[in-house]
Symmetry: C2
Subunit: 467 residues, 2 copies
């Protein structure tokens, strides 16, 4: 038997009980009279509750997702109210969690955005532009409660005004502090679900994912570092995520907004067997070989691409193949292979003698000395009716991956690429004669942010938003 009494009457009630039940207590028929202090009562009251199944489910679900433990429950058969006893310190959070569940009736997501640069900034603008539609059509309420760069961060419990986030960062931003930021996003506010959106390419930030998932934060990211980093760390994250009921989405790590990871997952989950994933995963390298058609030398095409801004400031970052290797590692692991980036054979297009060049300028200057070799390869391919393409391959049968320059017949889908398109072909037991192919721009702020945004919405749907 338990009941709640006002704090000031606790002493009197306790004495009265002890005196009234003295006999039973000394006789051992009652074990003790216990007083649990610092409790609060939260009641949901409403006329329609009696005839609406699911009110208590919603009520308790809201409390559970806000991580609030319930000491006692009472509901009378008149069914006009549900009353719970909780810890006093949880009281405001509980009230808000329940309010936001019932009155707004929305799937509300608290978001912390890390890295408000080109990608993160575009994402914030996309969310701003789409917020009303999401609220109206899908009952999804996205609240960016924190934005942090490397030096400054901006926090707001009720949600940052996204029409002015750039000014607000400048005017009201405080010193960035990742621990404080994490604490804030996870912490004491009224939104039951929180997600960290890492828009950086930073390995240090990726190393926080485990801790975030452990603390019940969902994670969405285009950052390749966690999934292509040390195998053990990756497996640890995936294992925790599976067990913890938190979600970890990273569609934009491969092909930006193109549906690559989700397609692969769909195939695997429904029991298809991946035989081979082969693709052109770098927009830059796609552009270079789509335009290396015999009219100019390879170094000229590189110079042209650099000037047009299609390469990294130092084109060696593209030509080394590391970025492609990361994507191959991600897809291989997603397919169940235990590959490590370090053991993946990668054919670098940076000539050995130029790897040590002190600057991009020096590299560009010396690159023409090495044109002959690639020209020869191109001509040999051409003579055989083929073209050169820089591809990544996951060979799921032989359980290995490679990144290399390969030759393709001119009627192969990879030979017919234009612009800086990515193309990815899945050969599986079901798609064996003809592969499943996805093609399109695999880089750029708008499409990358779109891919991240899509993951955030998937999270909202997984958390119960209507579809």
């Amino acid at each position: 038997v338990c009941f709640a009494v006002p704090e000031k009457e606790v002493k009197a009630v306790s004495e009265a009980l002890n005196s009234r039940f003295r006999q039973a207590l000394t006789g051992g028929r009652l074990s003790q009279i216990e007083v649990i202090p610092n409790c609060s009562i939260l009641a949901a009251v409403g006329q329609k509750m009696a005839s609406t199944p699911g009110v208590s489910a919603t009520f308790f679900n809201a409390l559970a997702k806000a991580n609030i433990n319930i000491r006692a429950i009472a509901q009378g058969c008149s069914e006009y109210n549900i009353t719970v006893v909780i810890k006093r310190e949880d009281c405001i959070r509980a009230l808000r969690a329940v309010h936001s569940r019932f009155y707004l009736s929305r799937t509300t997501l608290a978001m912390g955005i890390i890295g408000p640069g080109l990608i993160g900034g575009t994402l914030l603008d996309q969310i701003r532009d789409q917020a009303a539609v999401l609220n109206e059509e899908f009952k999804i309420d996205l609240r960016v409660i924190g934005i942090t760069g490397s030096s400054k961060m901006l926090l707001s419990e009720s949600g940052i005004d996204l029409s002015r986030w750039r000014e607000l960062m400048k005017e009201e931003g405080e010193s960035a502090n990742m621990e404080k930021f994490t604490q804030y996003v996870r912490g004491n506010h009224f939104i039951p679900n929180s997600v960290m959106v890492d828009c950086t390419a930073d390995a240090d930030i990726a190393s926080c994912y485990y801790d975030w998932l452990l603390r019940g934060l969902h994670v969405v990211t285009p950052n390749k570092k966690a999934n292509s980093g040390p195998l053990e760390q990756y497996l640890k994250i995936r294992d925790l995520q599976r067990k913890s009921y938190t979600h970890y989405f990273y569609e934009a790590t491969v092909g930006a907004g193109l549906p690559i990871i989700s397609t692969l997952r769909g195939l695997l989950e429904t029991g298809d067997k991946i035989l081979r994933i082969e693709g052109i995963f770098s927009g830059t390298l796609s552009y270079l070989f789509n335009n290396f058609v015999g009219t100019r030398s390879f170094s000229e095409v590189v110079a042209e691409a650099k000037q047009a801004g299609f390469t990294e400031p130092d084109p060696r970052d593209d030509l080394s193949g590391t970025d492609v290797a990361r994507k191959v590692t991600i897809l291989a692991r997603e397919s169940g292979l235990k590959l490590d980036l370090e053991s993946l054979p990668v054919q670098s297009l940076v000539p050995k003698p130029l790897q040590g060049c002190a600057s991009a300028e020096e590299f560009m200057e010396k690159l023409p000395q090495f044109d002959e070799e690639l020209s020869k390869q191109r001509q040999e391919a051409e003579a055989a009716g083929e073209v050169l393409r820089y591809v990544g391959v996951v060979d799921a049968v032989a359980k290995k991956g490679t990144v290399e320059l390969k030759r393709y017949k001119k009627d192969h889908p990879f030979a017919q690429l234009s612009g800086a398109d990515n193309i990815i072909a899945f050969t599986t037991t079901r798609y064996k004669e003809q592969p499943l192919i996805v093609r399109g721009p695999g880089a750029g702020a708008q499409v990358t942010a779109g891919g991240i945004f899509s993951d955030i919405l998937r999270l909202a749907f997984y958390l119960g938003a209507p579809s």
Copy 2:
């Protein structure tokens, strides 16, 4: 104040209360003493409940999803138990719903499969083969509790043994009855969530969706009839689905297992604007024009495809363009256009005089008479460095759709198709210079069943399965 007493003591307790509170009752300080008969008590008891937040949420959620109303709740502060009072008739269902939630701790889905033919049968086999992995890795428990064909149906509350479903259908199947089947899948069993999977192409079955969604059944289907049928009916379904928190997925209506609908949804939901969707949506028509390269007449290519089983028994079903028009209608509506199949301009490849042929044989015999026109078109295209392709177009800017034979430059992705591949290009605000393209087999039992299966798993994830 309310309390539960055993049925046989109700009379005595009621009399005692009435006598004890007579004064208060006559004085109007108490309104009445009410007896609510036929109730049952359901209690969840466990040592660890005190320290595990979310137990009550899970408990009440299980009851809510099973549509069980709760009369009264009690939880003592010892927190070893939660006790609820429910209608006696709900008692077994409630017990089972809660049991399956707590002990199995799985997302359990009751499924009714309609149409166990080529597609539905393949789906059942895929589910059988994948069940263990889903249970193990995703804690998803798929229970096929009903399979119905047009003449026979098989029901099993605990789940049909999928290793023997074909024999069981023959040996134990009863007369098919859609109302009874629906009632059974929705009805009195212990699995809180139910989905109807319509693997037919039947308009009558599609006309049940509204009723199913209304009754809280989720719907998954490759059947194009509902979404390409009367606009009003489609809008009514979508409207209900949004409001009812049930899910309605139909990825396989376009491109079978290719990620078409999900990709389109992802773009729209994240605020991208669709400008144009253009594609080759018929594997048969893809095959015909990929092979109509000047070496044979069009009718010869059709005859060859018919013999290889690539066309419908009556090739007019493919050549009429109706199937493509249905897919265009589906994509147009998904994009927000209010198009009707009837008003969509469709260029039929069945010559007018042959529309009335009594048989496929007569049609095939007379088709060569009309070869000249298409040959001429092909040669004109060829002379301009182009090819003929039978495409469907959603022009979201002009708000219209078309199905027609068009010419494409030889370096266009549509010109480079092989086999019976589908190809779909999305041109959007984000994918403007270069479209997002999905290509691959868009028909066949394995890939179509895979697409349906993928939707079923999406449903499970939306209902709370870990990802």
